[in-house]
Symmetry: C2
Subunit: 330 residues, 2 copies
């Protein structure tokens, strides 16, 4: 019998869907107070048994007991499989777990919520949200000319699961999507796929530029002064990837110079963004606190990924979204 | 030869597309200063010739010379065809033109822009736009749980061209759309079509309720205290139809009582909304000044409708979106 470790809230939510697996898997939970339980019997566990499997989702990682959760995995003598709720592995804690676990699987369902974030920010920009709100604040009825996603040109740098989730939506709304990535197209939701070395030629044509590639030495600071100078003056810049993709001082200077017109950032170079950062009060920057995936739909999606992989694990079938162990070598 | 009347700016924009029609149609323009010209020769016209055709679009109706534009049509001895850029005819000026013209055609392409307005407002509500902006204003990095259009339940009252434009988009984004109208379904973009008499039973299930029916004696004040009391506490109410559909005092009372959660209104009972209206500063109301269709896409759509009908007119073929003359009888 294998022992599977998960947050107590996650187990309570999934319990009806775990029936039938309880013969093959013992579930051990950790709550927000750091207390462990045998989930089947309800017994409090003073010391944790050796763990084989863990589901590392938002319940666990945004819990006050996150440190205990991590430590329990890292101290298990032979840890077999970790299911992450995240798509990326670029995080010191996840890297350590990846080095420990025999198998590590990711989850890509949060791209749906993130894609709706991109639509939200693009619509608020194209529909002139700030101008409309300023007029309402003054009780002023004055029509404002707006633009539409229909007919707009999008350049999506990093055309993986997030990029495709965005592309499918924008195309369905009548926008024109160019995806930028190394592997050639076609790809769902994109009218064209172009190679990264064409970026500077593509930038001037885009109404909306979205970054969502992984953070690598090649993408570090890719959005710099030259990048912004190549954008159209009326364009929107968005970052759903990592803060390190953007030279933030260059972004502020570019917005002040009028090109691009506006920026929406769900990620920043330092997170939490320090209270004294000039990004907060810039009139042409929207900041959201890395919460673009923070919806019930994302929680359900990660649950579904975990349960599907757990069934495969128990049945001895190949699991999905397995990460090559070489990715965790440092 | 027929004489077609249109705004000078419209003619300038359409000129390349009117070649070939100039043998059959004389184009006469009116500019913002109220000056008329023969568009073919450029000659200033001190008095207008009898008009046969007119294209009444936003260039004409939002011009300082709108009164001269209307008067010229109404004073023509035999006026044959009016192409409106609007979908509805519920306007005293349009009613007078409808009584005058032998044929009157409408345009429904503005529903595309209006549908994007509905997505914009729904996303800003579901993604917690006001909470995010309040946190940014205080330089505070604090995650906010949001919701998605994916999986949300929409009730669209009035499932004509606007309703379907909304329904297509919401369905493409993974939402569940119920359309309410008299004629039975199926209809594009809606999972179900229900009859208006089921409204009160449908309201409690909806996350988003959108009104976009015509204004008739049956729909006047349809959104009243009982209507709002039947909505779910966490739901969004939107009006893209006419202000007279909503009992505004009942809406404010309902929002203050916490049901529905929020309202987005592109139309109000009195327009412009008076500066002393309590709607302006209500923390859970967004007002836009009846500009949901005010995009370049809408202007192009109306141009396309006019040109397609003009070709049919010249060829003696049946025109599209013809209004039954009985609709203009008072």
């Amino acid at each position: 019998m294998k022992t599977c470790f998960l947050h107590a809230r996650t187990f309570a939510r999934l319990r009806p869907r775990l029936k039938g697996l309880e013969a093959a898997v013992r579930f051990v939970t950790l709550d927000d107070a750091g207390k462990a339980h045998d989930a089947g019997t309800g017994t409090t566990l003073d010391t944790l048994p050796p763990l084989d499997i863990a589901f590392g989702n938002s319940d666990a990682f945004y819990s006050p007991s996150v440190r205990e959760f991590m430590t329990a995995i890292l101290k298990s003598p032979e840890f077999d499989w970790f299911q992450s709720a995240a798509a990326g592995i670029e995080n010191p804690g996840l890297m350590m777990i990846g080095q420990k676990a025999r198998r590590y699987t990711t989850n890509h369902t949060q791209s749906e919520s993130m894609a709706e974030w991109a639509l939200w920010q693009a619509l608020d920009f194209l529909r002139e949200g700030p101008a409309h709100r300023a007029l309402q604040a003054q009780n002023k009825w004055r029509r404002v000319k707006a633009r539409e996603i229909r007919g707009s040109r999008w350049l999506v740098f990093g055309y993986g699961s997030i990029g495709q989730s965005v592309g499918r939506r924008v195309s369905a709304l009548g926008g024109d999507v160019t995806g930028v990535r190394r592997s050639p197209g076609p790809a769902e939701g994109a009218a064209r796929i172009v190679a990264p070395d064409t970026l500077m030629a593509e930038l001037p044509r885009a109404d909306v530029v979205l970054l969502c590639p992984p953070h690598t030495p090649e993408t570090e600071n890719m959005a710099n002064a030259d990048f912004f100078a190549a954008m159209a003056p009326g364009a929107l810049f968005m970052n759903l990837g990592r803060g390190a993709l953007v030279d933030e001082a260059a972004l502020v200077a570019a917005l002040d110079a009028g090109r691009p017109a506006f920026a929406a950032l769900d990620v920043t170079r330092t997170e939490p963004l320090p209270p004294d950062s000039p990004l907060w009060q810039h009139p042409r920057i929207v900041i959201t606190p890395h919460d673009s995936s923070d919806t019930p739909g994302t929680v359900e999606g990660a649950d579904d990924t975990f349960l599907a992989n757990l069934s495969r694990y128990v049945a001895g079938e190949p699991m999905k979204h397995l990460v090559d162990p070489a990715a965790f070598k440092t």
